[in-house]
């Protein structure tokens, strides 16, 4: 655990250094990002070997609090989640150095870097914590530090609103976790997580539901996702990348960790996760499709991808509950790999969105366009990320979705037709809609002509930002091509999650899981090779031929311009119209009037269904109730004394009667 602790120490030092030098933003950035990068490097040295190490040595220190202890251990499950945290945070820190530069003239960056390092450190501790109290403390610190990062630009009303939503949602979720962990520690007799005994079915069910709600809020399961589309756009982009890429995954980690403590799952847990996954996935991507704020779109996509992960977990749990080990392994493997993959492509996409924001000054897709020419690096990496998030071969997204599909197909064949079909149908629909969504995102932002002056004047970002995006894009391609290897590296984690006998697990892994994956990745490589060959052939074909350039063919329209292009809203309109029952888009239109119409406008917005129909009524109901109760304190002293007298009377009559 030495290097791991050293890594946390480096992060602490970097964060405190940044805070100390807040007045000098360059130095603060140096400390903050330097701490993160060094910490990541040192931490990876410990974490990567731990991926396959099935006998971790726990570290246990007594501390000065009356409950809990400082107890850490890096088993494969912890390491599997800690590694992406280190990697993505390092990339984001590098990116942040340049990205935050623009803010340094107006305010001190020290606190921001401090909270960044704190966020990273708390996530690391969270992943390794083996004690309820330590876990809860790390969890809360993670929430708080990310809250302060989200509200970095607090002069904006929308950011403040987002910050509040995030903080409150996170806290409500945490309340569930408090109950969960106290329940577990009551059963265990101590706060040590490794001491949790086998629970009675009632307790286990309660614990599962609490975990689903508590961790689900952080992970972004619908309908607990409301904070996500608010907070991610509000945060600085490298923070959005970290939050969306790894922070929400701590919810998945928590769920897996608790599941590993609860023993054999009943089938309805799997059904729960499957339902949550299908709803989150389909509705998440539908809402994403309806957005025209680029970062909000990406945020809803996080909900979708979390839904895919939940589908995988659901398939895994159901497979386990119905005694289909292969299905279980495939489902869990797909879910785990999708965790990793989502880190890579969602991190990449948020960083790309940040570059766009940085260069063009707006996130509104209706004002963007044509950026691929102006920002070739950002555009190309964003394209890779877009294809990966749609789950297209030969990129990484396909690898994980393939595993889940395969699990579901095996389930259909082996007698679990109902849930297999739910998973297949949901995944297919999600896949198709995601394709629509990302062709829209990439096409509208990067292709065509700029729709605004700022977009026309955009420029490529500097090397730190480009380097971090390129690294993540390379990760997407590599995982896509080396899927079996990555799966092998995560086999320790997988074994832990599946809870199978090692020998049976090994034979399943090598006999039935890795071979198709090898084929898939081989096919991906072949596809790439064919593309390259094809490109050469095409170049050869066009060699010496007349190749002209001209304006886009517009069927004879006389004055084409950028404003003639299809907009993001119109692109998505057929699908959003089809699903308007869920999306309930709002239109604001002022049509052209008179013989010589001057101007006309049309705008749509799609507010969150659950926010509008579920949370706002509840909150305003509570608010109204509170206002009613206000009457109690109306200023008349007579009634104040009456309260006392009545209390006394009631108590005397009730307790003595």
């Amino acid at each position: 655990m030495g290097a791991f602790l050293l890594s946390i120490g480096l992060l602490a030092a970097g964060g405190l250094g940044a805070l100390f030098f807040s007045r000098r933003s360059r130095l603060a950035g140096l400390f903050g990002a330097g701490g993160a990068l060094l910490g990541a490097a040192v931490g990876l040295a410990e974490v990567l070997p731990a991926l396959l190490d099935r006998t971790p040595r726990p570290l246990r220190l007594d501390w000065g609090l009356p409950l809990g202890s400082f107890s850490l251990a890096l088993d494969p499950l912890s390491a599997f989640f800690a590694a992406p945290i280190l990697g993505l945070c390092a990339a984001a820190a590098l990116y942040g150095v340049e990205y935050m530069e623009a803010h340094s003239s107006r305010r001190s960056l020290g606190p921001s870097w401090f909270f960044f390092d704190l966020l990273m450190a708390s996530m690391l501790v969270l992943c390794a914590a083996r004690d309820s109290v330590l876990f809860l403390i790390a969890w809360e610190l993670m929430t708080l530090s990310s809250f302060f990062l989200v509200t970095f630009e607090d002069e904006k009303e929308s950011v403040r609103r987002a910050g509040w939503t995030y903080l409150v949602a996170a806290h409500l979720g945490t309340a569930g976790l408090f109950l969960l962990f106290m329940l577990l520690s009551r059963q265990a007799g101590s706060t040590d997580l490794s001491a949790v005994p086998a629970l009675s079915p009632l307790h286990a069910d309660a614990a599962f539901l609490l975990a689903l709600v508590g961790f689900g809020t952080k992970a972004g399961f619908m309908p607990m996702h409301v904070w996500l589309p608010e907070a991610h756009p509000a945060a600085p982009s490298h923070v959005s990348a970290v939050m969306s890429g790894v922070m929400i995954k701590t919810g998945i980690y928590g769920l897996l960790r608790v599941l590993s403590l609860l023993g054999a799952p009943p089938a309805w847990w799997g059904w729960c996760l499957l339902a949550v996954g299908a709803v989150s996935g389909v509705l998440g991507v539908l809402f994403a499709l309806a957005q025209h704020d680029l970062k909000r779109l990406l945020a809803y996509h996080s909900v979708e991808n979390i839904g895919i992960i939940a589908l995988g977990l659901g398939v895994g749990l159901l497979g386990r509950a119905h005694g289909m080990p292969l299905v279980s392994v495939l489902g869990f493997a797909g879910a785990l790999l999708h965790v990793l993959n989502h880190v890579l492509f969602k991190g990449l996409l948020f960083l790309g969105a940040g570059s766009v924001l940085h260069a063009a000054g707006t996130r509104d897709m209706e004002h963007l366009g044509g950026l691929l020419k102006r920002m070739p690096w950002t555009g190309s990496t964003f394209l890779i990320g877009s294809a990966a998030i749609c789950g297209l071969p030969p990129l990484n997204g396909f690898v994980s979705e393939f595993l889940i599909y395969l699990g579901a197909f095996y389930a259909v064949v082996a007698g679990g037709a109902a849930w297999g079909a739910v998973a297949i149908g949901a995944l297919a629909l999600i896949g198709g809609l995601a394709l629509a969504c990302f062709t829209k995102a990439f096409g509208v932002v990067f292709l065509g002509e700029p729709r605004g002056e700022k977009a026309a004047a955009a420029h490529e970002c500097g090397w730190p930002m480009r380097l971090s995006m390129a690294a993540l894009a390379a990760g997407c391609v590599l995982v896509g091509l080396c899927g079996p290897m990555v799966l092998f590296w995560s086999s320790g984690t997988l074994l832990q999650v599946c809870a199978l006998p090692p020998a049976a697990f090994q034979s399943l892994l090598f006999g039935s899981v890795l071979p198709p994956l090898l084929w898939v990745c081989g096919a991906g490589a072949a596809l790439l090779a064919a593309l390259i060959l094809g490109a050469l052939a095409r170049a050869w074909l066009l060699r010496g031929r007349p190749v002209g350039e001209s304006g886009t063919w517009d069927c004879g329209y006389a004055a084409p311009g950028p404003r003639m292009q299809y907009t993001a809203s119109s692109f998505a309109q057929p699908i959003t119209g089809l699903f308007s029952f869920f999306l309930r888009p709002r239109e604001r239109a002022s049509g052209p009037e008179g013989y010589f119409p001057a101007s006309a406008s049309y705008a749509t917005e799609t507010p969150d269904l659950f926010r509008e129909r579920l949370y706002e009524p509840v909150f305003s109901g509570v608010l109204r109730l509170a206002w009613r109760l206000r009457w109690l304190q109306h200023g008349r002293i007579q009634l104040y004394v009456l309260y006392i007298a009545l209390t006394l009377l009631v108590l005397l009559l009730w307790r003595l009667g």
Binding site: P66, G163, R186, W627, Q633, Y643, L648
Partner: protein, 489 residues
């Protein structure tokens, strides 16, 4: 030693009334506070002998609360010295409605402040129920002029309500004393001291004892601020000068809590722990609920803090009533006092800078008053029980106690109220802290830099932070011992 503990503040108070010059009087205030703190610190190593026939003695619970009181008073006295210096410069101030008002003479303020310390010490040190009651009663008396320091209509109204409501409550507590005496009536030899009654609890008449407890609960509960008897609290806390609010909330409420715990000890010894525990738990949850309702959308930040005190008194009662969580409740009393103390002191700084208590008129604290603004935000996190602050530990510990007693529903309610308060406070505090500074804060007087009024709250905040990371073993032992002394297990 006990006589000194009581004598120093009271003698200084007498002197303060007599001294004419402002400077030496402020020096006297600091000196008295320092002496009291030093004496209290000494009590941790030397166990002071009981005096006055055992009526006055320092047990573990008393020591804990006395230390808390002394520490808070020390911080408040430094802050108060700075406050008086600033307030002394202007003869007349303008209130929110634009009326001019003068402050009470500084001598009266200082004298009453020291008297307040003395009477609170008396309440903490008393082992005799009558004397305890006298102490509590006397605190009301000394604090009334403090609340009425600003000679204006609103503070007068607050004082009137404080006096009347608390007098009714305290009179009921007196009746409770009588009932207790009746319960012990069959045994003429019984003294009305805590150890004696605890020792002989089995011989007390159960029915009268129960009735006595009900009266004490309502009586001291009024003083402690349990709903629905809390009505005086928001008025008094919001209208008093912030130093006084800090002491009221951080020290006075604790004294009443301790008084209630002492009665509870007798009941527990008589085998009526379930009877009293249920009531405490019920009132605790009710207070939390009522406080949550009033914190939602609260428009006055000092009232916000006052309602938060009601909430925390509810938490204390809840924890104490659960029995298993008693040490946690005592630790929470420590955390709450320190946190609320520094929050009120910070609120005083905000008020001095912005001249308004209205939440709606304050925006952008973090930019306008970086230091006080940051303290305000830290205070919010601390008071709502976020790590890494001490309140997190104690609230979690109380929750653990609730679950240990198989009270899942109660635990869920407790969490729900905590979450509601968090959400409500977040919306108020974040609105105040973030964004661009509002008009009220555009041109801020240099008060944010006044070290006299920055460091006391900052040091208290540091203490709360430390308690969240490391609870010193002596404190932990003290808390456990105090819980044992108070018969809670």
């Amino acid at each position: 030693m006990i006589w000194t503990l009581l004598g120093v503040p009271l003698a200084s108070a007498a002197a303060a009334f007599a001294i004419r010059a402002d400077g030496p009087r402020r020096g006297l205030l600091l000196a008295a506070a320092l002496t009291h703190a030093a004496l209290t610190a000494a009590c941790w190593t030397i166990q002071p002998a009981p005096v006055f026939g055992g009526y006055l003695a320092l047990d573990a619970a008393g020591r804990l609360f006395l230390s808390l009181l002394s520490a808070l008073f020390l911080a408040a006295s430094f802050y108060g010295a700075g406050y008086l210096r600033a307030a002394g410069r202007t003869k007349e101030e303008e209130d929110a409605a634009g009326f001019l008002f003068a402050n009470a003479p500084e001598a009266v303020f200082t004298g009453c402040l020291l008297c307040f310390l003395g009477t609170m010490s008396l309440a903490v040190l008393s082992q005799h129920f009558g004397l305890l009651w006298v102490g509590i009663e006397a605190t009301t008396l000394c604090s009334a002029p403090l609340i009425h320091f600003h000679r204006q209509r609103r503070s007068l109204e607050a004082t009137w309500k404080y006096l009347l409501v608390c007098s009714v409550g305290i009179a009921l507590a007196l009746l409770g004393n009588f009932f207790l005496a009746v319960a012990a009536r069959q045994h003429h030899d019984l003294l009305m001291t805590v150890p004696e009654l605890v020792a002989q609890a089995g011989r007390l008449d159960k029915q009268w004892l129960k009735a006595a407890f009900l009266l004490f609960l309502v009586g001291y509960g009024t003083k402690m601020g349990l709903a629905p008897m809390h009505t005086w609290l928001p008025d008094a806390h919001s209208e008093a000068p912030s130093v006084v609010s800090a002491l009221l909330s951080g020290a006075l409420l604790n004294c009443a809590f301790l008084a209630l715990l002492r009665v509870n000890a007798v009941l527990a010894a008589a085998g009526l722990a379930d009877f009293s525990g249920e009531l405490l738990v019920g009132f605790g949850l009710l207070s939390m609920a009522v406080a949550a309702a009033f914190i939602i959308g609260q428009g006055d930040f000092k009232r916000l803090l006052a309602y938060s005190s009601v909430e925390h008194m509810g938490i204390l009662a809840f924890g104490a009533g659960l029995g298993a969580a008693a040490p946690a409740a005592l630790l929470h009393a420590v955390n709450h006092s320190l946190t609320k103390g520094f929050l009120f002191l910070t609120a005083g700084n905000l008020l001095a800078a912005s001249r308004t208590k209205s939440v709606g008129e304050i925006r952008g604290l973090l930019r306008a008053l970086p230091r006080s603004g940051a303290l305000w935000l830290v205070g919010f996190l601390a008071i709502t029980g976020s790590p890494p602050f001490g309140t997190f530990v104690s609230e979690l510990w109380i929750l653990q106690g609730a679950l240990a007693r198989h009270r899942g529903v109660l635990a869920a309610l407790y969490l729900a109220f905590l979450a509601a308060v968090f959400a409500a406070m977040a919306s108020v505090v974040l609105k105040m802290s973030q964004g661009e500074p509002s008009d009220r804060l555009k041109e801020v007087p240099g008060d944010d830099a006044d070290p006299w009024r920055f460091w006391p709250p900052a040091l208290l905040a540091a203490a709360v932070l430390v308690l969240g990371l490391w609870v010193p073993p002596p404190l932990l032992d003290a808390v456990r011992e105090a819980a044992a002394v108070l018969g809670m297990r």
